[in-house]
């Protein structure tokens, strides 16, 4: 899989080098190979592939990648095999797989894709991995060795063993041995079981499970022993994993709620449009990615400030046009902002589109951080978690250390007094609301990496956000943080045995009951001020 994903980029690189290579002789052997592949009936595809591999042609890898990625096509009337560089829209950009020369655009109607399916793709991955085993970078070798696991077949054993001789990196050796062991266990080799004893890799476990089920009693026994030893480790990892899930869900809640903690918690504006501000942030990410095609990473980074600004400006507009007229009427703000949220949603539907938009996840955010074969932390969530904490810290700083923070606290505690001390209350209001909205925008940027970017994005988070803020105690950022994380964790802990829906319901009921016990939330504002 990972290989397929990297494919297009590396393919283009490959071609780049190709162009530099002096033009090929008249009858390029590659041509025959490709045509052979393109025209092979599904039964003979494998031969065709092997033919390409055996040809030892340095372009082979590029071709196979293109093939595995549905980027090989035949021009219907000429029968020529071409590389599809861009396969979106009505006309596709194609290139010559032999020279890499760009052949311009051609209507997709005229092209006939060289068919592939998962079975072949699986084989292909094995072969690719095999090729990558010779790569210079040991990490690439290890990765491909991991991909080998469970893909080894009789054909691959010999080359792998050969490779094992040459290999100096211990990590890679272990992988290869494991990969071979899986094959051997499947062949009923008892010694191999030992090799897999410690491994947490699912493929290894699969192999052992099969062995345990086999009628060869010794093998079964050995396998069972190995499995038992694995089970223990698995339990621990599972626990760690669940905790991670909880925290990551929690941090999403925190992100979604933290902006509200300011507009609602600090300013007392029940901002029903909060969700839509999040949505704006997400759409900004999409927009920036549209402006910078091909650089999702950069686009994502840029959309952090952009998302903040867009949402903040929207916030200012809302504050100026509506909320300032509703001073001291919190529940009226609820109604007005509810209206605004309807408008914003429909605005996105009509201006952009009712459909969801694609937000690309940059390379460095996709995949997962592998702790061990059983425990790997998904990167996008890891980043979101970090992001949430940073945003929180930044807010804390602003509230505690800056003049704005001071003014905000002053104004919220005693407006009249603050005024008489020369604080421009209106200005503070604007800034506060802008800040809260901006943070909502940031949340949107983060969420665009986890879920849909569509008109309904906001609605899915607004209620949760309110729950978090109220549970944490209105007007208390720490409360929001703790509340978010704990609710997320509780939810994920419940999910395995209660199921997703029930877990959510239980959490809601828990909040309701909790508010009975502590009517002002986890961290209520204390003292005389809180009385009235």
């Amino acid at each position: 899989m990972s290989i397929i994903r990297r494919s297009l980029t590396s393919l283009l690189i490959a071609l780049a080098c190709l162009v530099s290579v002096p033009a090929m002789a008249q009858e390029d052997p590659g041509k025959a190979l490709l045509v052979n592949l393109a025209e092979a009936p599904s039964s003979r595809v494998e031969e065709a592939i092997n033919a390409i591999v055996d040809s030892g042609d340095e372009r082979a890898r590029g071709w196979l990648e293109a093939y595995g990625n549905n980027r090989l096509s035949r021009i219907k009337d000429t029968g020529q095999v071409v590389l599809v560089l861009n396969n979106r829209g009505r006309d596709w950009e194609i290139a010559d797989p032999l020279t890499g020369e760009n052949l311009g655009e051609m209507s997709r109607r005229k092209l006939d894709r060289v068919a592939i399916n998962n079975a072949i793709r699986g084989k292909l991955e094995g072969i690719m991995a095999m090729l990558d085993l010779n790569a210079a970078d040991p990490d690439v070798r290890e990765a491909s060795a991991r991909d080998m696991m469970g893909k080894v077949d009789a054909a691959l054993v010999a080359p792998l063993e050969a490779r094992l001789e040459k290999e100096e990196s211990a990590a890679v050796r272990d992988r290869i041995e494991a990969a071979l062991a899986i094959y051997r266990v499947e062949q009923g080799d008892i010694e191999a079981v030992e090799v897999l004893a410690g491994s947490l890799h699912s493929r290894a476990r699969a192999a052992l499970n099969n062995a345990a089920a086999s009628d060869n009693s010794q093998l079964a026994e050995a396998a069972n022993k190995a499995l038992a030893s694995i089970e223990q480790k698995l339990k621990l990892n599972k626990a760690a994993e669940t905790l991670y899930f909880g925290l990551s869900m929690g941090s999403v809640l925190v992100l979604a709620a933290i902006g509200l903690a300011i507009t609602f918690g600090v300013m007392g504006v029940i901002n029903m449009a909060h969700g839509e501000l999040i949505m704006l942030g997400a759409y900004t990410t999409w927009g920036v990615q549209q402006l910078l095609p091909g650089q999702p990473g950069l686009a994502l980074l840029l959309s952090i400030p952009a998302g903040f600004l867009v949402a903040a400006i929207a916030g200012i507009i809302i504050e100026r046009s509506v909320i300032q007229h509703l001073k001291g009427r919190p529940l009226e703000t609820l109604l007005a902002t509810f209206g605004i949220s309807l408008i914003l949603q429909q605005l996105v539907r009509t201006v952009i589109s009712p459909q969801n938009r694609t937000v690309v996840t940059p390379e460095w955010m996709s995949g997962s951080l592998v702790i061990n074969d059983a425990l790997s932390l998904t990167l996008n969530r890891l980043y979101v978690m970090a992001f949430a904490l940073i945003v929180f810290a930044a807010l804390m700083m602003i509230m505690r250390r800056t003049r704005l923070g001071l003014d905000v606290r002053a104004v919220t505690q005693n407006r009249a007094m603050a005024r008489s001390m020369g604080i421009k209350a209106t200005k503070v209001d604007i800034l506060t609301f802008a800040l809260g909205s901006g943070v909502a925008g940031l949340a949107g940027v983060a969420l665009s990496q986890l879920t849909n970017v569509g008109p309904n994005l906001g609605q899915n988070y607004i209620i949760d956000s309110f729950m978090v803020v109220v549970f944490g105690g209105v007007g208390n950022l720490w409360g929001t943080l703790i509340a978010g994380l704990s609710l997320g964790t509780i939810n994920q802990l419940l999910e395995p045995w209660a199921g997703a829906v029930l877990a959510k319901i239980i959490v809601l009921v828990f909040i309701i009951l909790f508010i009975q016990k502590r009517p002002k939330g986890l961290f209520p504002q204390k003292g005389r001020a809180a009385e009235n």
Binding site: R5, N69, R90, S248, N356, T358, G454, A500
Partner: protein, 435 residues
Amino acid sequence: MSIKKHVKVGLSALALSVSMHSVAAEDPIKVGILHSLSGTMAISETVLKDTVEMLIEQQNEKGGVLGRELEAVVVDPASDWPLFAEKARELLAQEEVDVIFGNWTSVSRKSVLPVVEELNGLLFYPVQYEGEESSENVFYTGAAPNQQAIPAVNYLKDEIGVERWVLAGTDYVYPRTTNKILETYLKDQGVADEDIMVNYTPFGHSDWQNIVSDIKSFGSAGKKTAVVSTINGDANVPFYRELGNQGISASDIPVVAFSVGEQELSGIDTGPLVGHLAAWNYFMSVDTDANWDFIDAWIDYKGDDTVVTNDPMEAHYIGFNMYIEAVKKAGTTDVDEVKDAIIGVSVPNLTGGYATMMPNHHITKPVLIGEIQDNGQFSVVWETPSTVAGDAWSDFLPGSRDMIADWRKPMFCGTFNTATGSCGASSGEMAAEAE
């Protein structure tokens, strides 16, 4: 004082009804379009509204039918189920439309059904659904479970050699029924209980971490495992993202989806999904001239060459043409005449075959299995040798095993019980009422 206002409201309400009443143009054939343009379902349904409008435009360019123009009457039921019933009533009773194309969700169809039957209208329903229904007034141009689920499972079983099954779905009637059918079917095929894992999630479920990791461990038991996904709409993006990030590739655990088409994929970064599967009766990538022409027309209509087509759009395409044919055949738009005329009508579909309206108001469709490509398209890897006729009553559910629907006289019954040889109460009686 307040009271004056009341009068106003009251009267204007009447005024509304009156005004609506007075407009009942005789000449054009009125085509009601009942798709949500706002609310949660707008995501999927707006394109269907555009499709029908486009088809009407094209038909009018061909000079309409029976020398009469077609005219679209669009309303917005706003993803609000009771509103669907109300709007259907508005279309039939006030606007007096000749036919309705509409609905997506089962619940909206269920809410509209009594209205259409009572006012004896015509409804073309373009979405794959759970079956277990056959109404005199509804034409199901989407797939019934036997036109999607069963063939897909067969493919996984026979071609990929899957032995262990995860049935994951959103918790509503379509996945529930489909999974019930599949469970029974798989068990008949000798799959053991412990090799089937069923999981339901709420609408728009966004946190899939736990479930995906469960699927992962379920899949590491040794046998080849596949996920049969009836997960609906919005929940798919986070689901596939989680799959990708937890490193479940199509070659490890393929996911075959019944509700994910080009439209949904256009909202997902498909890079990580290459190789996962979907089962439909139409794919945009199908290489036939009819299809390419349809796509080009659609692109021109929307003025954007990145727009996609999908299965429900083809269903409307078929349904619309069937209606036109039926009207020509009957020589009138009279509902009862058209109902009789349309059975047996067959029109070309977009995948190079023909779709025929069966007596049970379902149509014949080919079943295609497609693999997701990195450009949000599907590449067809398998298809049924011939078209499959939609089965209103599943053979794998205890309640409906013996039931068939046939809307030709003399049987004229949506729930004919072959065991008792009698027509089950409901639809028969409805028909009676409708007369």
